[in-house]
Amino acid sequence: MTVEARERPPSTAPPKGRSRRSLEAPQNRFRRVVLAPIIVYLAFFTLLPLVWVFALSLFNYSPRREGASIGGLGGDNPFVGLENFQQLFDFSNPSQLTQTFHTAVVVTLVFAFIVLPLNLLITLPLAVMIEAAARRLRPLLRTVFFMPVLTSAVAVAVIWQYVLNPQYGLLNGILTKITGDTTVISWLNDPSLTVAGVPVALLAVTAAYLWMDIGYNLVIFIAALQGIPKQLTEASLLDGANAWQRFWYVTLPLLKPTILLTAILTMISSFQAFDLFQVMTLGNPDNQTRVLPLDIFQNAFTFQAMGWAAAESLVLLAIVLLITLIQSRMLRSKWSY
């Protein structure tokens, strides 16, 4: 009972007529009955996996080997301490696993830093243009650009494989029509093709990814644009601002918080991109499209090197947390307008 009394919220005023305790008891009971199973669940399916993944990263673990009693860790799956991490960050290490990991980190970073500016450069102007179009056309335009978001990523990957097919694909077909001679470019398979040092295969998957993803940021920007008070744009009209000035000096500054948040979310989700890469290229050619989530997946489930994959996944976690941290800093400092 004393515990009960201490837990009592000081903020809720006691209802008139009845004693506080008799009314609060059922609330507390209800809350406990609900939260008890939830906390057990969270411990089992969120806390335990977190602890487990940290533990795994300290072992040379494969589910193929029996190992010791607790989670198969120990015994044939020996404890290696921080050796996995040492190898991950050993830049002179010639081992295949380490090299592939380094490649995967670079590919992931390149992918994320190409996706972000392109995504924003497409979605923001597109949102403004759609909002400037005739009212009756807007729903149709929105739907067209939003449809890929609703489509499963696997289907997107399968469709784009066909679009990019060297012999029978749409893209080479169009290029053949335009140039006049038969174009057979292996968009997804030729390791020798690069643009400004970036492999064409990676750019091809990026194109499919952008196609799939822009509708998402688009609707967010459209919503943000609709939230801008009419008086502000009208005021600038009266000052004689043209459309471009209106966008640059009124709309853009007002959208800044939204843009910043969207940029971070876009970046975080591109660090986790897996589906398109797994279906379209499987990391080929020559690991040019091997992103980190794909490398983790293959090491864990194809090669069953789960200790190593766990260590890799913690690096991914660190990257995502770092970006989140930077995000919260930026959001805090740039809110004012």
């Binding site: 201490r6 919220p9 809720t12 007529g17 009845r18 009314l23 009971r29 209800f30 609900v34 939830i38 969270l42 399916f45 335990l48 996996p49 487990w52 993944v53 795994l56 589910p63 198969g72 243009m129 400037a132 179009a133 650009f145 449809m147 609703l150 990523a153 696997v154 289907a155 399968v158 469709i159 494989q161 066909y162 679009v163 029978y168 694909g169 749409l170 077909g173 029509k177 196609w211 998402y216 919503a223 009209l237 009266l238 004689g240 979310l265 660090f271 986790q272 897996f274 589906d275 797994q278 279906v279 989530p293 997946f297 489930f301 994959a309 996944s313 913690l314 976690l317 995502v320 947390l321």
Partner: protein, 295 residues
């Protein structure tokens, strides 16, 4: 209207005949041109898929490729529907089971927890809430390995329930529900209490009916997310008869990579029916996505 308030120093604004919002015709034309090109690029791959599904095996291997089929055929669809190795109804049932079960479970847990986080004050509330929010930051690739091992220990690998138990508490859904329930007036809940309603009754008959729109939006998002999910189902389900549609589509496209007409017909059969449902409910999906601002 607005021109009336313009001071006389700017006579040129008064002489404008059309409303000032409208850009000059050339700009207008450019706007629609850009939008049209963008729209065509966005829609083209869909047409490519649908047209490919109606092409014969010979036509799909034609160089240079045709865009619209020269002779339309339904053969690809009948091949797929009669393929004993590809029981589509089984895959649809698997996907539907996972998606619908997760919708029911997620809506129940998130509304209940949203109610508790919004309307109850208790020790440890903030810690628990922030723990949940922090879990949202953890990439799927991190929890995937230990969760796989947990499922293998409790015998839920290659079992559709394995796709349910791991996502029964959805932090994002809880956040949204808490936001909505917090805006409901406290007095309502208090007066229901005074009338002798049990806490569960208050949740069920006072809170839930008022957050129906949020439930509908969240339900749709959860359904779509689960329906399209690939990575986790790929990890958990190893037997074809247990697999969900995206996993099967990926498998089928690898198996028949030389018969693109069949792959496209399979994509159409697996994607288009649900896509129509999503398009019909697009408004709520967009609402859900914009209201969250997060994935």
């Amino acid at each position: 209207m607005t021109t009336l308030s313009v001071p006389d120093v700017r006579p040129e604004t008064v002489t404008v005949v059309k409303p000032p919002r409208r850009p000059p015709p050339v700009g207008r034309l450019m706007l629609y041109l850009v939008l049209a090109i963008g729209g065509v690029i966005a829609a083209l791959p869909f047409f490519w898929m649908v047209f490919g599904a109606f092409k014969t095996g010979a036509e799909i291997r034609q160089i240079p490729p045709t865009f619209v089929p020269q002779d339309w055929t339904l053969e690809n669809f009948s091949t797929i529907l009669n393929d004993p190795g590809l029981p589509l109804t089984t895959f649809y049932r698997n996907s539907l089971f996972v998606a619908l079960t997760n919708v029911v479970v997620t809506l129940f847990t998130s509304s209940l927890l949203g109610f508790i986080f919004a309307k109850y004050v208790f020790r440890g509330r903030d810690i628990l809430f922030w723990y949940l929010m922090a879990m949202m930051m953890v990439p799927p690739s991190v929890l995937m390995i230990p969760n796989y091992l947990i499922l293998s220990k409790i015998g839920l690998l290659n079992n559709l329930w394995g796709l349910v138990v791991t996502v029964a508490v959805d932090p994002f859904a809880i956040l949204i529900m808490r936001q909505f329930i917090r805006s409901l007036p406290d007095e309502q809940i208090e007066s229901a209490r005074v009338d002798g309603a049990s806490e569960f009754r208050i949740y069920w008959s006072v809170v839930l009916p008022q957050v129906k729109p949020a439930l509908a939006t969240l339900g749709l998002l959860t359904f779509m997310f689960n329906w399209n999910a690939y990575l986790w189902p790929l990890v958990v389900l190893s037997e074809n008869s247990k697999r969900t549609i995206p996993v099967i589509l990926s498998w089928y496209s690898t198996q028949h990579s030389a018969q693109l007409n069949l792959v496209m017909a399979a994509s159409v059969l697996m994607v288009v029916p649900v896509l129509i449902v999503f398009l019909a409910t697009q408004r709520w999906i967009v609402q859900g996505l914009t209201l969250s601002g997060g994935k």
